[in-house]
Every structure is written in C-alpha cells, then in structure tokens.
C-alpha cells in the first residue's frame, strides 16, 4: 500500500519540531541524535526492546474513510429507553460554537482564573441552573456521572453523620430504594464495599429506619417513571436524623416540586438531556446540589465569586487548596477532572431556552407521555403508574414482551424491558409521528392530548427557576452566539448581562 504515499502524514502535523528544528535543538543539547538523548533519559534497564505492535499509521483522510465504514456497524434507531439517558436536541448554535470549538474544548481546568472568567461564568451558570431546578442553595460545577454523584452523597452523609462517632460505632446503613436506577445501585455497591457501608435496598414504603441508618437514596421520578410523593418518608428520615439524597431527572424538575422543597439534603442527577448527546454512555455532566450545611463538604469543584485586587467582582474555583492538597488520610472524594465542557453545554442549553423554554420542553414531554399512556390504556394495556412525568410503563407478561420486542426492534425502535413490563421514555426529540408509531406497536390507535396532569397537585412545581437575567437575555441565535463568543474570549462581568 505504499507505492504512492500521500505526502501528508499526521505525525508531521502532530509533532511540533520539524527536521530543521530538530537539528538545532539537538545541537543545543549537545547530542548527536534523538536516540542519544533518549538513551540519556530513559534508563536502559527498562527500555522496550521491540517496536510497538500497533496497526500502521493512517492518514487523516484514510482514517475518516475507514471510520465512516465502522460507523455503519452502529444501527441508529429511535430510542425510548430512558433509564437516565435521553434523546435531546443540541441547539446548533451551541454545537458549533461550544462543542466543536477548540476555544472551549481544549482549555484546561480554570486554575488561572484571571484568564478564564468566561468559562467560569458558564460554570457558575451551571451551578445556578442546578440550584434553581433542584431547589437547593449550593451546587458544584459537575461530577462524572449520576452513579458516582450518588456515591459521593453517600460518603458525604456518612462522614457528616459520624463526625463524632467512635471507630466501630458509626451509623453505617444506607438505604437505597429499589426503584433507583440499576446502574446507580451497581456503583453504590462498589463504593460501599471498602468502607463497610451496609447497603439496604427495598421498597421505600416499607423501610424501617434504624439507629444505624445514616442516609437514604430515592429516585425522582423513579426508574419506572413513577412520580412518588416522598414527603412523609423524608420527614420520617429527618426525625431519625437521617440524610436524604434524591436522584432527580433535571428536566422533570421544571414541572415537579423540587427535592429541595421537600427536605432533600442532596440532589444528584445527570444533565445529559440538556443538550448533550447520549454518546453510548458519555461524556455528560452529573450535578450535585446540597444545603448550606454541606457547603464545605461538597465534593468536586465549585466556582465561587470573589474580588480582584482592584475590588472588582471576579470568579474563581473556590476551595481550590482542598483539591490540590486533598487531605490525604481523610479524603472522601478524589474528584479532579469532572465534566466541565458538558456542564457548560447544559448550562448554555438553559441560557438558550430560558425558564419558559425549559418548562415548555418538559411540558411537551409530559403531554406526549400522557397522551401515549391514554392511548395504550384505551387499547387495553395496563399502565403501571398513575403519576408520571415522561415515562410510561406498561405491565405485560413475558411472552408478549418478547414478541413486542422483536417487532419493535425490527421496526427500529428501542424500549426498555424487564421481566414484567416495558417502558417508553418520551424525550425532546419525539414527534407526533413517533407517538403514532409507538401506539401502533401496541395495537393502539390515535394518540390525543389529555387535559389533566399526571403529576399530583401537591407535587406540581409552583416556584420559579432560572430567573437570573443570564437565563432571560440570550434567546435569539445572534445574541446567544455573541454571548458564547464573549465568554470564549474570557469576558465576564460577574454574570450580569
């Protein structure tokens, strides 16, 4: 394959010094060859004695051509799986100017705040967005995923609860509702093990708080899409001095009474559906919000507001020394790299849509889910939950499920299945045409709007969010693009518009 090599080789684009540079540098270093320098540098006892066995280098053009073929091996279907990951529309202005812009994606952690005010402002927007939607006053600048965010909450609770406990006498039981996302539970199992935390899972309605209980985790809406009223449960937890973490779907909080308003100490979740593609698992930004009490225990990075030497407001990563010199023996969290770029995209999504837009997107999902549920019910299907946000669960016998699954997958449609039912998540990308197609699979006919809400009155949100001007100023593409560019150029006036 090398009779006619293209002169453009990636290695020459990637590596800075050219031949001429190399010679000058070697002269300066007083060595004859790069090999000589390497021999002086890498101890001979550990030198690799054969070349790496990797495929031959491809040109950029060849690589892209081959990858195109590989991409064909993925089958793009309509996904209604949900379970923490949702179809979403990345606004093109954000896609092009943030996600695909090296001015946003190459940057390092903003340790040098004086030249990173723009990106810091965007992360502050993320924190404000999370805080508003969860109803909790403090939020961090992202964590790695919902599962690990829940684990961070568990450990933070454990440490706080047992601050003054003697070794061996700690309260070490953590209750996880059996309606928490399975992948979250999986991560919690791993993370509970080393510290000997006892994970108890089960029906939250039946959980009996003990002396040993230090915390609980609930999913809202739960993994089956049901919107449960946890308020009495949380009160009971409070009474037992047990901390409560709620894993909440960020979009649902536009319609649902947020965890912060019914006593949660921590809310965690994924912000993926705020404009970040699913990407077969990531990257996406998880959020972590909490109360003033945990202000200084919050894991991960936090952007804070300070002043510069001229007395002007200026943003920075707060509590930085905590990260760079994580207190070694006492550490509860090891988070450094998190999901800044994705947090920025999610924040930009909120800036772009604003409170009315976010509410509109959430309402539409809810309306469509209700309509679908009604249509399926009319067709004789058993809908699992009366109260839901955007996910409809249909109880079905295993045999029927298998047939449905076959039919659906043939039609290029993914649902979520378990032993006893199937779940359909209605996200922002779903169209009326999609709904009809889904209904058809279940033998249902027309899908029509339903007037009443499927959220019970006491759980309907009645507080505002995203009221800060930054979420209410850049709703045209021109304004949005310019805002993104100003931030890219390092400009921030402490988040005044």
């Amino acid at each position: 394959m090398s009779h006619f090599p293209h002169p453009d080789r990636f290695v020459n684009r990637h590596i800075g010094p050219n031949k001429h540079d190399l010679q000058e540098m070697l002269n300066f270093l007083n060595v004859k060859s790069l090999d000589e320098l390497i021999y002086q540098t890498v101890p001979d006892t550990i030198r690799l004695d054969k070349p790496l066995n990797l495929p031959p280098a491809q040109s950029e053009y060849e690589y892209l051509a081959e990858l195109k073929a590989t991409a064909q091996l993925n089958r793009l279907v309509r996904s209604y799986i949900g379970m923490g990951y949702h179809g979403t529309i990345t606004p093109s202005v954000i896609l092009r100017n943030v996600f695909q812009n090296p001015g946003w994606y190459t940057q390092y952690t903003p340790y040098q705040a004086e030249i990173a005010q723009g990106r810091l402002e965007s992360l502050l927007n993320f924190q404000t967005m999370v805080s508003d939607l969860t109803g909790l006053p403090i939020a961090n600048a992202s964590l790695l995923d919902e599962g690990t965010a829940a684990a961070e909450a568990m450990h933070m609770f454990f440490a706080e609860k047992n601050k003054r406990a003697k070794p061996g006498e700690e309260a070490n039981e953590f209750f996880v509702a059996d309606t928490v996302l399975p992948q979250t539970l999986d991560v919690l199992r791993t993370r509970a093990l080393p510290q000997n935390l006892q994970l108890v899972t089960g029906d939250w309605r039946e959980y009996v708080f003990s002396e040993k209980t230090f915390g609980v985790l609930l999913q809202y809406p739960d993994m089956h899409g049901a919107v449960e009223d946890y308020r009495a449960f949380v009160e009971k937890a409070k009474a037992h001095e047990v901390y409560v973490c709620v894993a909440a779907d960020i979009l649902s909080l536009a319609l649902l009474k947020p965890p912060g308003e019914w006593g949660a100490d921590v809310a965690v979740g994924n912000t993926q559906r705020f404009g970040v593609p699913m990407g077969f698992g990531g990257p996406h930004a998880a959020y972590f919000a909490t109360t003033e009490d945990f202000k200084r225990q919050i894991p991960g990075r936090i952007i804070g507001v300070s002043v510069d030497r001229h007395g002007n407001r200026a943003l920075r990563m707060a509590l930085q020394t905590r990260e760079q010199h994580i207190r070694r023996e006492k550490a509860t969290s090891n988070i450094c790299t998190a999901q800044a770029l994705l947090a920025n995209i999610a924040a930009m999504y909120a800036v772009y849509h604003g409170p009315a837009g976010i509410r509109g997107i959430a309402s539409r999902a809810h309306e469509m889910a209700k309509a679908l549920a009604a249509a399926l019910e009319n067709a004789g299907r058993k809908i699992a939950a009366k109260h839901f946000f955007d996910t409809v669960r249909v109880e079905m016998p295993a045999g029927e499920l298998a047939a449905l699954r076959q039919k659906a997958e043939d039609a290029g449609i993914n649902f979520f299945y378990d032993q006893t039912g199937v779940q359909i998540n209605v996200d922002e990308t779903v169209t009326e045409h999609d709904l009809a197609e889904i209904a058809g699979l279940f033998g249902a006919k027309s899908v029509a709007p339903v007037a009443t809400s499927a959220v019970p009155a006491p759980l309907q949100r009645d507080t505002e969010y995203l009221t800060h001007p930054v979420f209410n100023s850049y709703h045209t593409e021109s304004d949005m693009m310019r805002y993104i560019k100003r931030l890219e150029n390092g400009i921030c006036r402490s988040c005044t518009p």
């Binding site: 280098a57 993925n74 695909q100 994606y105 539970l185 077969f280 920075r316 550490a331 994705l342």
Partner: protein
Amino acid sequence: MHSMISLGSCTMKLNAATQMIPVSWESWANIHPFAPASQTGGYQKIIRELEQYLCEITGFEACSLQPNSGAQGEYAGLMIIRAYHLARNEGHRNVSLIPSSAHGTNPASAVMAGMEVVVVACDERGNIDVADLRAKAEQHAQNLSCLMVTYPSTHGVFETSIKEICKIIHQYGGKVYMDGANMNAQVGLTSPAIIGADVCHLNLHKTFAIPHGGGGPGMGPICCNASLAPYLPKHVFAETGGAQGTNAVSAAPWGSASILLISYAYIKMLGGAGVTDATRYAILNANYIKARLEGAYQILYSGENGRSAHEMIVDLRPFKALVGAEDVAKRLMDYGFHAPTLSFPVAGTIMIEPTESESKAELDRFCDALLAIRQEIDEIAAGTYTHEDNVLHNAPHTIDVISADKWEYPYSREKAAFPLPYLRQGWKFWATVGRIDQAYGDRNLVCVCPPIEEYMHS
C-alpha cells in the same frame, strides 16, 4: 489554545480536528448506552481495538474502559487489587504505600478503596527513598496491599530504581499500581509492565489526545496483568469486565464512550512509530526548555545523566524573598502564556510540560518570556523596583489598568503590557480581571449567580 499551555502533569498536546470531528457524527453521538449489542457493532469494534492498543502500549493483558477520569482509574485499579487479595483470602491486606511526591488523588483514592495510606519518603534527589520503602514494606509486610507510584515520577524523572522498587513490593506480597499521568514519557520507550507494575490507569485526556474541556471530560481506563484481570469491573447492563469482576465504578459500561474515538484516532493516525515519536519529541522538547532555562533558573531534580523526562520543575523558592511562584505564574499571562502547573508537586515551584506538539518557535517564545521574567526579578533584587510595586507583584495587567488615564506604577505601560516584541505580533492576550483574592472568595463562598440586585452596587 492561542499559545502553548505547558501544564506539567497535564499533557496539553494537540487535539487534532480529525480526532474531534467524528464525535459529533450522529452514528456515534445518538446511541443509547443500553442499546442492544446487536446495534452497536461500531462501538464494539472501536472498544475492542482500543483496549488491545492500550494493552500493547502498557504491556498488559486486559483493559477496562469504564473509569471516567484518572482519579476514577486509580480507584478502579485499587479496587481490583483489593478484590485480588480478597480472592486469595488476604482481605486484610490494606496498606497502600505512597511516595510523598504523589498527586493528592492517590491517597484519596486509596482511602476510598478502604486502604490505609503509608507515606514513603523521597531522597534529596527527589527519588523514592528505596531504603525507606523497603523498611515500610517490611514493616507492613503482613498487610501490604500495594504501592502507588507515578512513573516517570511527578518530579519528571525516570527513577532508575523503579524495577527494584517494584520487586520489593512484590516480594512482600503487594501489587504495584502505576499512576499513568506521565505516560506521555513512556509510550513506545518503556511500559508499565516492563517497570514492574501490575496495573495502571491511562489519562486518555493527557497522553491520548482527548482535550481537557476546561476541566473535563476525561477518560481514565485501567490496564492490568493477568493476575488482576479477572477482577475488572462489570456492569449491570452490558457484557464487560473480568470473570470475577467487581461491581461497576461508573454508570455507563464503557465510561464516556464517545470520546474514546479521539484516542482511537490518535493511535490509528500515528501508528506504533508515531506514538513512539510523540514520546521522543515530548522528551526532546522538555529537555530543550530545560537547557534554555538553566543558568537563569534552577531545575529541581533530573535523571542520572542530567536529563528530565517530559516535564521539569523550575524552582522559584530561591527568589522567595522577592517574588512568589504565583507572581511568576500571573506575570506569564502578561506575556501571553498560560502558567505552568503551580506548586505541584513542590510548593514554590512551577512544573513545565511542553508536550511534543509544540514547535521550536513556540518553545523559544516561552523560554524568552521566562528569561525576561528572570530579569524582572533581578530588577527587584537590584532595588530598581520595590517588593510591593513591581511588574510581577501587580500582574496580570488588565486592559483597564493599561488604558487608565492615571498611571500609578513605577514602570512603563509598555513594560507592563508589551515586555517582549513578539507580543505585538498577535500573541498578546489580556487577563480580564486583576489578581484575584483567593482567601476572600473562600471566606465568602457564593457559588450561584448572585441575584441581580447585588450587581447594582458593584
């Protein structure tokens, strides 16, 4: 990205557009992590091949792409060491030896993995004190779980005793966890397996070209040898991990799968010789900077032949009475450069890692800037400027300062803003705020956008 970002330990290399572009192709972007395997053949192929490449590069047997960051990789690695000991009925082994120069995430991850951290000293040359290591290993022989070691060291040195170090650990029944943050000095020249490690993480967002995104995303896969492979983490919704694998460490089976494309492209487009050349030039660039700075600055630590690996620590403590390391970092902004890593792993220093992607012209500009700053320090020493009022202390100089009608500084505006000629050729950038008060912010922690009324007064 407008100029070199020479962050030691962070490997800010080129993020090539060709590597980035496919991440937004819908056939990669719009796949649900729990989609049936029959629909994800493309991802499966990439994952399989990338695992293989990373194994080849590390010299190991098996790989898990689950961890989403270096620190997560550490945790995952320690958890499989833990599982290994448990499986051999040695669950009591819970001591993790960690050199004093380690990154903060190392002990933090060890604690999270339920281990007791025992710190090993470094000698005056910055290397692990082998005697101390041996003593500690012996002392904790019964409970020794592992050593966590960064290689080349966080001091930017290929410690020659590394094989001996690993041997000692093995001798006392421990495993060696290698922190792969400095892997960009190893690829193709040596490997974690060769130095004697049992498991390591790789920061794909350092060595393998994933951009840093302003603090993420990242990917911190781990590779390990056959003894540990059975314990690699599994996932509830996917076929992955070892036969006796631990539970998951991430929500998704292959972490942030879509950005694996970036590292995959990096390896495919460079090939074996190319990735090795990347390492060789990374070492060249570092040593070139070192040679240019020597004389003006003291370089802390180096290898036996006086060479550094792919990064080096510039000691600013000798100037402590005049300026702090932070002053130099902030002054570099005036010169159009992002500061190197500050005060890690040694307080009062900066750590420079140029990477292979920078050309000589860029390295020279950077060295010119640091050498000019050295002269500015000398001016303070000579009494030309006071300790409280000089270009370093007042850095960075904002546009507001430079364009103010009143100029209150003992030096010129030109000296403040355009100290070297290249800055007039398109390389100038401006800090948009002056030096930030860190203590004030931590004392008055505000971490949501303050209500608009607050701004009325500011």
